[in-house]
């Protein structure tokens, strides 16, 4: 039987606020255990939650960016369950009336294919603390610094059909929240966490199969692996006549497998009800309008502009807009170098990307600033140096030997563009290679490359290749 994979994703995005969603404690990462857990975060008796305005702004900003309905009235509800990292015995979340309603996100699958993924809802909630399972006299340690950190949970429709699509959706969403500056998206620190709901159905059937939920997958690569593993597992179960159990599974990246989390599974009855300590959140059109004004150019808008204004391919444009910083870097180089867009793309996505990857850096920590690269490309563009020499200079710049102009100056790499300087070199090469000259003139055209090579060697690569080409052709034919 041919199976169709159906995937829906729930993404927990940690909002980058200064303070927590319901308390004035700091959200900074990496503090000593429990030093950033105030009375509200610890659920001490008598203390009360008050909602952080910034989280509401950020949620609305996100909603607007995915064309979603913003609820004029949303309600915070308590999700009740006992767990040591959940200090109050309930999580404040939104249940029946979330702040962001139905919307959608377009993902680019390849040069031609764009797919629209439905967004069911997005709601605000508080994060839990952390259980540390290292052995403390045979006990578990609880750190509540993370408790109360604001999260936006973004729930998609079951619209994805493969691990590839799921990853494309996640990458698009990841870029989006970073464009909006509502999250740092740091996956290692857990600022962008994903749960995947996966089910299979016979191709052509519209009814959804029973799904399994895979919890807390914390990298794009693991999402792909976890989904692929789970799809295989489910197909095996189904084809051997079994049925899928609706359950929560955990992805183990060490063993590359998912396994059932029975301990969390037992009869969850969360007893959601409106939190009586908080009032309904009312948002009016004016409030929404003000936030609309602060929306930046979104990735898909930027991509379209790049294609139109700079004549880039969808592929190039897509790569560049993957992060806001990269796109900004590109535009700075382009503006300051005045070089053609294609040349800039090739350098940014080529030499620069390779250098960054090699040292596991990203564009924000690049050793060559946009202005510095612009200077280098400007020198190519005004024929001061050749593209080949530029690569050598780039290496020097990367190693901190100075900017492009000073390296050119110091190492005398300035391109020779003066005809009267190039001609004697050509004459000398011709005089030194009479045999090859004769063969060439007898029709062995291939030897043209040999002469180019000899000329460039004689001038240490500094002569302008186009000029060498032109002059050499002329001279070889002349005599």
């Amino acid at each position: 039987m041919e199976w169709e994979t159906v995937i829906g994703l729930e993404v927990h995005v940690q909002l980058q606020t200064a303070s927590k969603i319901f308390s004035g404690a700091s959200t900074a990462y990496g503090a000593l255990p429990n030093t950033q857990a105030c009375g509200v975060d610890l659920g001490l008796p008598g203390v009360l939650p008050v909602l952080n305005a910034n989280t509401v702004h950020m949620a609305v900003k996100f909603g607007l960016s995915v064309d979603a309905e913003i609820a004029h009235r949303s309600v915070f509800a308590r999700k009740n369950y006992f767990y040591p990292d959940l200090p109050k015995g309930y999580q404040i979340s939104q249940f029946e009336l979330p702040i962001v309603g139905k919307g959608h996100l377009d993902i680019q699958l390849d040069e031609e294919t764009v797919k629209r993924i439905g967004i069911t809802r997005a709601h605000l909630e508080e994060d839990a603390g952390k259980s540390l399972h290292e052995d403390f006299q045979g006990m578990t340690g609880i750190d509540l610094n993370r408790a109360g950190t604001p999260l936006l949970e973004i729930v998609s429709e079951p619209d994805m059909r493969s691990a590839n699509e799921a990853v494309a959706y996640l990458k698009t969403l990841h870029a989006l929240v970073r464009y909006l500056e509502i999250s740092d998206g740091n996956m290692q620190e857990g600022s962008f966490r994903c749960d995947a709901n996966i089910s299979m159905r016979p191709k052509g059937q519209s009814k959804l199969g029973t799904r399994a939920e895979i919890k807390n997958i914390n990298s794009f690569r693991f999402v792909e692996k976890a989904i692929n593993y789970e799809v295989e597992r489910q197909i095996q179960v189904l084809e051997s006549g079994g049925s899928i159990v609706q359950e929560t599974r955990l992805y183990d990246s060490d063993r590359d497998e998912t396994r059932s989390m029975r301990s969390k599974e037992e009869a969850n009855d969360y007893r959601y009800f409106p939190d009586p300590d908080l009032l309904p959140l009312n948002i009016d059109d004016h409030f929404i309008g003000e936030i609309k004004k602060t929306l930046p150019e979104l990735p898909h808008e930027k991509r379209q502009r790049f294609e139109k204004a700079y004549g880039l391919s969808t592929y190039d444009a897509n790569n560049l807009v993957a992060s806001r910083e990269l796109a900004e870097y590109f535009e700075t180089v382009l503006k300051e170098s005045k070089a053609p867009a294609k040349l800039v793309v090739n350098w940014v996505m080529g030499e620069l990307s390779a250098a960054l990857n090699k040292e596991s850096l990203d564009i924000t920590t690049s050793k060559i600033t946009a202005s510095a690269l612009a200077q280098l490309l400007a020198r190519i563009n005004d024929n001061t140096i050749s593209g080949k020499i530029a690569k050598t200079i780039f290496e020097g710049m990367w190693l901190g030997e100075g900017d492009a102009d000073s390296i050119i100056e110091k190492q005398g790499l300035k391109q020779i563009t003066d005809t009267s300087a190039i001609e004697p070199i050509i004459d000398e090469v011709m005089a030194n290679n009479p045999q090859q000259l004769a063969q060439y003139r007898e029709g062995k055209d291939k030897l043209f490359g040999f002469f180019i090579g000899q000329v460039m060697k004689a001038c240490a690569g500094k002569a302008n290749p186009a000029q060498v080409n032109e002059l050499l052709r002329k001279k070889l034919q002349q005599d």
Partner: protein, 95 residues
């Protein structure tokens, strides 16, 4: 609706309350009587009535995003039954 001893056990589990085994029938009896009384509500027609969660229909106030709390771990943990290295300790959590 009738609350059985079985219901009492499962509700007590949801609420994480250890109940005295012998008291369970007693709880069931009390609960049944109380719920029976509560069910008088069914005599009122509430069709289309919007549920009221708060005494007054006001909106949530928002707090500026500012850090106002400083570290008070030591004084908070003075009340804790068991801590080590700044962590609250509980019996091993099995994932």
């Amino acid at each position: 609706m009738s609350v059985t001893a079985e219901t009492i056990v499962s509700i007590a589990h949801l609420a994480r309350l250890a109940l005295d085994e012998k008291a369970i029938p007693h709880y069931a009896e009390d609960m049944n009587r109380i719920l029976h009384w509560v069910e008088q509500m069914n005599s009122a027609d509430t069709q289309g009535i919007e549920p009221m969660a708060h005494p007054r229909d006001l909106g949530q106030r928002l707090r500026p995003d500012e850090v106002t709390e400083s570290d008070q771990r030591e004084c908070f943990q003075a009340n804790a039954p068991q801590t080590e290295a700044g962590l609250y300790l509980v019996p091993q959590v099995i994932e």
